[in-house]
Symmetry: C2
Subunit: 336 residues, 2 copies
């Protein structure tokens, strides 16, 4: 994030006004190319003389990320014997929350690709008897578009009762008429992630499903508008729970999370968090209702916090669409 | 590994003769199913009363893995306020090195799938003008076989001069007659990884390529036989360097690594390590020669250490095969 460098070994050091990228001989070429684009970062190659020539020049207190492992910290202590490392929660993650317009553009483009391909994909692929795993496999291919995009995560494809498990792993369960379908997926572009969840039906759903979908959609649309600069995340999530009433017992996770070079990053939008949202954060809004053994619904949008109303990046319709065996589309509930 | 449980939150605690799996409410169903199969592990659900009811019951010195992050350790200290955590290198990883026959069977099956599909895949897909990225995309699909298998890692596909970069990321570089091709790939079956690297040519390679391939193949075959119970890994890697002579300057990584639920795990087979190999470890043997701007060759087998000679799991031929535009095969160098 700080250097643009990605590899299996590398770290970044900042001291007074000096910035260093340290990596090993395998990456000399790639890293020195990159550093030409990023003025002010010096490339240091880690070799057998590293401690003697470089590491020993630094002493005193240095903050480090607390996403380091204990093993990595033990190495750093060996390589910088005079440094006192101070694990600091959110050292870089806090900076990463606020996105530049260049970062927002990548996420927007990644999401736009998903928006474009998802419904045509389902028209072509939803058939009685297809398994969650097979649909997931073909969805991955469509999302990746010959590796023009990566995957933010293995897409979740859940039919019927399996959709009641928020983190369901696609199984051999096959699709049949009357099933609801939950799809949670995202792609990466230049390492930046998108993330969206939509719900569909194959044939005719139950009355209960229709009723709960309409209810959740209404709540999600209401709370979306509240995603503004300086709002308390605790308050956002609590609003959803209040609007759900008795159904809030079936809402078993938090409302959302930041999205960037990781698909889950700060801030966490949860009743357990005391943060506020800030302009130019990219976050999700994803309330869900999960009825064990019956069905689950999660409606997830991806959005950019602005001063007033947020920019919604995920443009796929939230109409509840029914598909039939030959890919015809029928709108059951219209998004307002 | 210890419990068979996989999820986004969970940890394992062992104290005297008691064993516990701790996870949260999302996984109650899945985890209690699993624990029925594993007698002797008690399931504990992490909720708001966890510290009061469970965490406070433990005190004194407890070893922990040093793959924990500083943030995770800080959490554990909150959840178990009376415990003194002692980071211990290789606490579980050491156990993981020695595989059961059930684990070896999964790795064998994963590797057998790659062995079966790789050459037919290349016959069908190698054409002038195909890019590394596109070939990688189609290779991933073939390897995954409609998600019957996972990927151990994103396969490396490198043409010509790009193969001189050991960890090359597939690019838009297109294939042309005369190119050598390096493919490093593996699949997972029930979370267990396979790993293999093979080299091919499209059309006629250079004399230098043929000469270096023959040399490296000869060395790799010699050192493979030395992979026996109790041999020093330093000695193994040093043998390769000695056999290479002046060319050892173009061998820029270590000889191999353990393979299991992670594609890189202990032991590390390197001149920097003081370990010995042990029966029932699954490891790689992968010497390489990398000539910057020209080409690279890496010949990697996957094998099980036994008392005498190892079981070689990777059965794809090490003959140097040339492909032409229509998928005909021509053996340039015969493996002895």
């Amino acid at each position: 994030y700080l250097t643009g460098f990605w590899g299996s070994f590398g770290f970044y050091l900042e001291h007074n006004d000096k910035k260093y990228l340290i990596t090993d001989g395998r990456y000399t070429g790639k890293a020195s190319e990159l550093m030409k684009e990023r003025a002010g970062i010096e490339l240091v190659i880690f070799d057998t003389k590293f401690v003697e020539i470089f590491g020993k020049n630094f002493s005193g207190d240095f903050q480090c990320e607390n996403s380091l492992t204990l093993a990595q910290l033990a190495n750093f202590k060996k390589w910088f014997p005079e440094i006192n490392f101070i694990p600091t929660p959110g050292l870089i993650e806090a900076q990463r929350q606020i996105k530049s317009e260049a970062e927002i553009k990548k996420i927007t483009q990644a999401q736009a690709h998903v928006d474009q391909v998802l419904i045509p994909f389902l028209q072509k692929n939803l058939k009685s008897g297809i398994s969650e795993k097979t649909l997931q496999f073909h969805l991955e291919n469509t999302l990746k578009a010959e590796n023009k995009y990566g995957l933010s995560f293995d897409p979740i494809v859940a039919f019927g009762e399996n959709s009641a498990i928020p983190h369901h792993e696609p199984s051999e369960r096959t699709l049949k008429l009357g099933d609801n379908i939950l799809i949670d997926c995202g792609v990466t572009l230049d390492r930046y992630c998108s993330d969206v969840t939509r719900n569909f039906v194959f044939g005719e759903p139950s009355k209960k499903y229709l009723e709960k979908y309409a209810k959740l959609l209404n709540i999600q649309n209401q709370v979306l508008k509240n995603y503004t600069d300086k709002i308390s995340v605790k308050e956002l999530d609590q609003t959803v729970r209040d609007l759900m009433g008795d159904d809030s017992q079936f809402y078993t996770h938090s409302l959302g999370h930041g999205v960037g070079i990781e698909v889950h990053e700060s801030p966490r939008i949860s009743t357990k968090s005391s943060e506020t949202l800030e302009a130019n954060q990219v976050v999700t809004c994803e309330p869900g209702l999960y009825y064990p053994g019956e069905f689950g619904i999660r409606i997830e949008d991806l959005l950019v916090i602005r001063n007033q109303e947020p920019d919604i990046l995920s443009k796929i319709t939230k109409d509840l669409i029914s598909f039939n065996e030959v890919g015809d589309i029928h709108v059951l509930i219209k998004d307002s």
